[in-house]
Symmetry: C2
Amino acid sequence: MNKILKGNFIFTDENRNLVIKPNAYGVCENGLCHGIFDQIPIRYLTYEVLDFDDCLIIPGLCDLHLHAPQYEVRGAGMDCELLDWLNKYIFPVERKYSNLQYAKVMYSRFVSGLLASPTSRAVIFGTIFKESTLELMKLLELSGLHTFVGKVNMDRNSPSYYMESSVATSISDTIAWLEQCNFTNTLPIITPRFVPSCSEELLHKLGELLFSYNLNVQSHLCENINEVDLVKQLHPNENSYSAIYNKYSLFGSINKSIMAHCVYCSDEEIELSKKNNVFVAHCPSANINLASGIAPIRLFLDKGVNVGLGTDIGAGHSLNLFNEMVCAIQLSKISKLKPLSIQDVFFMATRGGGSFFGKVGAFDLNFDFDALVIDDSNINLDGNFSLSQRLERLIYLSTECQLISKFVKGVRLF
Amino acid sequence: MNKILKGNFIFTDENRNLVIKPNAYGVCENGLCHGIFDQIPIRYLTYEVLDFDDCLIIPGLCDLHLHAPQYEVRGAGMDCELLDWLNKYIFPVERKYSNLQYAKVMYSRFVSGLLASPTSRAVIFGTIFKESTLELMKLLELSGLHTFVGKVNMDRNSPSYYMESSVATSISDTIAWLEQCNFTNTLPIITPRFVPSCSEELLHKLGELLFSYNLNVQSHLCENINEVDLVKQLHPNENSYSAIYNKYSLFGSINKSIMAHCVYCSDEEIELSKKNNVFVAHCPSANINLASGIAPIRLFLDKGVNVGLGTDIGAGHSLNLFNEMVCAIQLSKISKLKPLSIQDVFFMATRGGGSFFGKVGAFDLNFDFDALVIDDSNINLDGNFSLSQRLERLIYLSTECQLISKFVKGVRLF
């Protein structure tokens, strides 16, 4: 478990500045980072050195929001908006995961794709089916990736063929699922789909489970105007969409909460996110593919809210989080706010999202040693680019670079 | 030269509708398309059949706007806007192409990249240097791609180290270059950089060359607000940016004209584009990378203006025109106009841009036989998707598919 990686380390500090250590030695001891050094300190001289020459070494990327069953239909139906797309494309697919054999085949493809991607950690939606969600978790555990996975809860406003029949069923299935979650790196997370498809009674019971099982929660928030309107109609007396989650302790007040999208959050909701340490999963490709809009990420960052990135497979079409970094910058240039920088998006994809998992997303002392080793020589043939330029060009041209190795908490996955 | 390709043909008709011919035979005779058939007609039974099984066969893509010397710096300096970016990143690079040896090395990398990309035809900016532009053309001719290439003209408002010293020099160099252009598939095109860097006298002389040599023209138009303001300051008495090109016969009134970007064209300029049959090169990635804005492509299409796509390397970061199709759709979803569809962008990248080259961009009778053979089996493992869905998913997930063969006017390049 103890080893030293040699290469060009690039990561971010807490203030979203780049930390660049050229030609350096990164020490991994028992899965943790013991520092990045110009020369190997004497006390580590016996450790194996993996020399990655002129490669870039960056923290593994953290995907805060994606749907495993939707992987098979990514890139289809991109002419729809959210609610239509769910009904036409997504619910008919997710329903198929009641068949465990089907789920095994499809989820193994998804896990292969995620393993090959630059993602080392992810927070994942399954389906309403507990058995296939467990199957997904088994496959993820075998992959060596570190993930949170949720069995989805939904008991209203959904097609009859894809909805839990009662709060009691939804909760008893969730408990049965939780009792079978015995994995090391694959942890359960409470997963109400979103307010439109969860009754208040269900949200209430899920809040109780959060407390009794000491779990985190993930859901969707303020993605699309029609969805936000629907929530207002369903809950005319509530102050905001966020307030409904908050009422049932599902908005960061107990343990951690990830809210995907947050395109239409009010100032009060941004304040509440900050107060409750809610994590925002910014999913720019998904937001533009479904014509949802542009999330005001600059406002969240300025308020000090935790922001990570999410591919949101299948509304986002690719598992490649580098593409989300590019898309996040691009969309920010259209919004009226100050555009996001390379540092901002690199931070979000590593340290920002990583903090959901603990000390993750940087090569700071005692952080989990998650690393991607990337050969960018195809786009740096003459060696003329500085390391910060190489990072920028890796992000924009990731498909022209080679991901040659991935480490998660010190374990080499390939 | 005579052959038959078997596979699933997809292309567009003149009205931007998809034409889908599953499991069909496309006949190529002397480089031209003789039809797509369900069975091989008796008169073609002696032709060699290339059986591409369940692959997709689509027209080669046409890139209407890109800068060959900027290939080496693609994906760098993406935090700038246009005029800053030109001064900080681009002019210092283009200047290097005064060195022919340097140009040979760099242009051979560019041509390799273009050959491997889904592009079969392109309209390309070189630099102000005639020798290196000829070198670029020699390499392109060897590749088998069909292109127009321009030696750039610029005689004002440019850095002293990268500007032609006088109109006379600019024109005599251009004539010397034209006299040496003796290629079959690589044709010269008149290339004033853009109004800010070309005096009226230069534009006047270029218009004369256009006429005397019977050439087409390419330039930039209304890309960025500061650029448009600069043009207004330089030409306070002109009605519009387009009017300046038009005054010197560089706006479609003689032969064909490509104008890249057209983000800020007025209604009158759109009308003039239609009247003069000007081709708009829509470059969505470039427009968003440099924070220029979103071109109102729907308005151009509704008026019946010719629109093609351009990667605009290096403001666009990738040679992959499928990415431009995705970006064009995505940006159109943010604009207040009706979003672009898969059909719209597929048309633009094939038949729309192809019409600049002649009968190109579709498998209509007597069109040039340009074809890409694409294996999308990685994303269609169960064969569940319809051919129109497969086209959509190919466009969104092109990097997960394999481009296995490329034909240009019947010649197989790989």
